[in-house]
Amino acid sequence: MKLRSMLLAGAAAVAMTAGAAGAKTLVYCSEASPEGFDPAPYTSGTTFDASSHPVYDQLVEFKPGTTEVEPGLAKSWDISDDGLTYTFHLRPGVKFHSVQGFTPTRDFNADDVVFSFDRQADKNNPYYQYAPGISYEYYNAMDLPKILKSVEKVDDMTVKFTLNEPNAPFLADLAMDFASIMSKEYTDKLASEGKEAELNNVPVGTGPFEFVAYQKDAVIRYKANPDYFKGKAPIDDLIFAITPDPAVRMQKLQAGECQIMPYPTPADIDALKADPNLKVEEQPGLNVAYLAYNTKMAPFDNPKVRKALNMSINKQAIIDAVFQGAGQVAKNPIPPTMWGYNKDIKDDSYDPEAAKKMLADAGVKDLTMNIWAMPVQRPYMPNARRTAELMQSDLAKVGVTANIVSYEWGEYLEKSKDPNRNGAVILGWTGDNGDPDNFLGVLLSCAGAETGANRAFWCDKDFNDLINKAKQVSDQSERAKLYEQAQVVFKEQAPWDTLAHSTVFMPMSKKVTGYVMSPLGGHDFYGVDISE
């Protein structure tokens, strides 16, 4: 019994933290260690949650809970009529954080903005590769080297961006994590001491929380920034308790060792909802999981065959067994929460008998195909192997023999880009900026079919013209119409079997108030409070 009470004391210690000295602490059981604290060289949400969301700001920001762009470090902006020049008017009086060894002597200004983009664009910038292997993948992935011509300081409080071609999603790009604004004063100081690599260890930004300490693979600590330009956060301390195992995260939440956690196992949702001390918020994820056929290869070059296969796969069963209900069947390549989603599209129904007949009509019999299943869990696909197993058993019912193949994740991504690839590949996409072009343009354009980003190698002229036109137009309702038409073409041609949009769950203590889920999947704790 002595042992028991001793251990209990240990477990209960956390519960006391919240009350200690009146400081409010929010503990977030995060899912993995951040790769670093500079958001620009990385692409994972985990790293953004620990760097850009708490510590940094961008010129423009996504309004909480939406993908709408609102002023951030820029208080306003003008766009020239030709859509090529963006002029940003910066917010005055914004202060950078102080950390051990650095105290800012000046407020945020145009130099910081120019530096933050220059370092990613200019090979001669000392921060272009400030640690071995650093590279700016998101900047490249968003095609900015091609789109962005220059970033110039007009005066201390004005910055001008010039583009090479009009690009409707550009403004949303600037709200993304890689576009976080660094302190030039801080980076200059680090450079003068020859400690550039520290930028990735100790971040200095303007955001709602200041970085305090990181204990590798264990704990990250932040404290509220008292000078934050939107006002100090209601909580005083923010702690990330790094807990990779979802079952363990759940137990810690239930034990009160943390107050909020991401990515519960779908299987545990019911138990979490039943817990009287917890509440579970949910929201459809801005993502899609799909099965891409190789449309360059017979018999998958025949849309009828693709449709028949789509009809033989029971997608609801995948939602039940793999997503454990935490998702919805997808009928379009973009998620329903996104503008431009065509809700009038009718999905191909699950009908093995009809599918069998269609295959026979198309002259396909004794078909053997490969299904590629990715080896990792992604936000849009909890378990690709299990999905493939379900498909295998469904396809067997219409006389198609499916073999499941898999590779190491990096190899998988690369090999699936080969136009001679044998088989249909399970993959997916999570939205970066809430723009439909970020799905349709990247994943289904003819340009993508060349590079392999379009895993179906599907190049349809009608579809491609529609999405290209939509990218050049700036009026959103007009763009939405074009995207809706494009989805009709997509459904007729069926280059993919659109599988699912996952649902994102966020279990938290009932004491947590003011948490707003981001449709982009990030986790932001500004504005969150804990009631006593």
């Binding site: 477990a11 503990v27 190491e408 190899e411 690369e414």
Partner: protein
């Protein structure tokens, strides 16, 4: 004596060279591409890919890369992690205290329980204590510890709520300039409850990691004891009327300990293997979990540096055991 030591140490040099070849060679033939992993679903253009590969030095002949690797290792540079971009050596020694603390506690448990149980079982050979403890030892020895750990978590954290679920200490304790030996930091800080908290976090992982060494040590102690108890000098001592407690304490135990020490030394390598599983189950921020993560992320320099350092550490421990063995058992030295 000194020649014996020096000989032992010199003998390690070819093994060391072999270890660098293995660490380096393995990592070079790992399939997959870390650069691609970083880009994820976004992908890379071929030009950009070539550019990045060149920046990381993957485009040069393999022997050149190997020589450079050895040269740098000799200068204490194991390269930078491809994921965090921090020096591998720094990453390793940041996490190493966590593994060491866990390992020491597990070994402590294993010895403190295993040796007495083994001795007692040998003395009371055939008794119910002997049968039950040796049965338990065999079960422990056969245990899939990754499953055992899950069961303990379900029971003690999930159902009974006796122990915290994971982590090393309650988050309310924070030691900015700590050594990352949590128990030491907790004591040094003098904060009330810190030590209790650290121990309550440590107890389940330590039990899981101790399971197999404990079983092995108990079994080994018992059979070493049985053997010694059958030797002539023990019988003689007994026949001369020495009290049984003294016979066991003075003669039997000391001699039985020689093979047991070897066993304990051998368990250190095993402990590292066990740490991989234990740390994965308990999200313990140590070397084992770091290696598994690095392998799956294709973080070449980390895998390579980790393999090298772990092998060297295991080798050093074995060397120490060898030397100890030589000290205790003079017969070996003169052979």
């Amino acid at each position: 004596m000194i020649r014996f030591f020096i000989g032992k140490i010199l003998w390690l040099i070819p093994t060391l060279i072999g270890i660098t070849i293995v660490a380096f060679g393995f990592v070079r033939v790992l399939p997959g591409d870390p650069v691609l992993l970083m880009a994820g679903e976004h992908g890379l253009t071929p030009e950009r890919h070539a550019e990045l590969a060149a920046a990381l030095g993957f485009d040069r002949p393999i022997w050149q890369q190997y020589l450079e690797f050895v040269w740098k290792v000799l200068h204490g540079d194991l390269g930078n992690s491809l994921v965090t971009h921090r020096p591998v050596l720094h990453e390793f020694f940041t996490l190493f205290p966590a593994t060491l603390e866990l390992g020491i506690c597990a070994m402590f448990l294993a010895i403190v329980i295993g040796v007495p149980v083994g001795v007692l079982a040998a003395i009371r050979r055939g008794s119910w204590f002997d049968q039950i403890s040796m049965g338990a030892a065999l079960v422990g020895y056969s245990m899939p510890i990754f499953w055992w750990g899950l069961l303990l978590i379900i029971l003690f954290s999930g159902v009974l709520h006796w122990t915290p679920v994971s982590g090393r200490i309650s988050l309310m304790y924070y030691f900015p300039n700590g050594t990352n030996f949590m128990i030491w930091d907790a004591i040094a800080s003098g904060q009330k409850g810190a030590l209790t908290s650290a121990l309550s976090h440590l107890v389940l992982p330590a039990i899981v990691l101790a399971t197999i060494p404990l079983a092995v040590i108990a079994r080994q102690t018992r059979s070493a004891m049985l053997e010694v108890l059958g030797e002539d000098y023990v019988r003689t001592a007994r026949a001369k009327g020495m009290p049984p407690r003294r016979v066991i304490g003075v003669h039997a135990l000391r001699n039985a300990m020689i093979p047991v020490i070897t066993t304990i030394g051998l368990q250190v390598g095993m402990l590292m293997a066990g740490a991989i599983l234990t740390e994965t189950i308990f999200s313990w921020p140590g070397i084992g979990k770091w290696m598994v993560d690095s392998i799956s992320r294709r973080d070449y320099p980390s895998v390579q540096g980790g393999l090298l350092l772990i092998a060297v550490i295991v080798m050093l421990v074995n060397l120490i055991v060898d030397l100890l063995y030589g000290l205790i058992n003079p017969r070996i030295r003169h052979r």
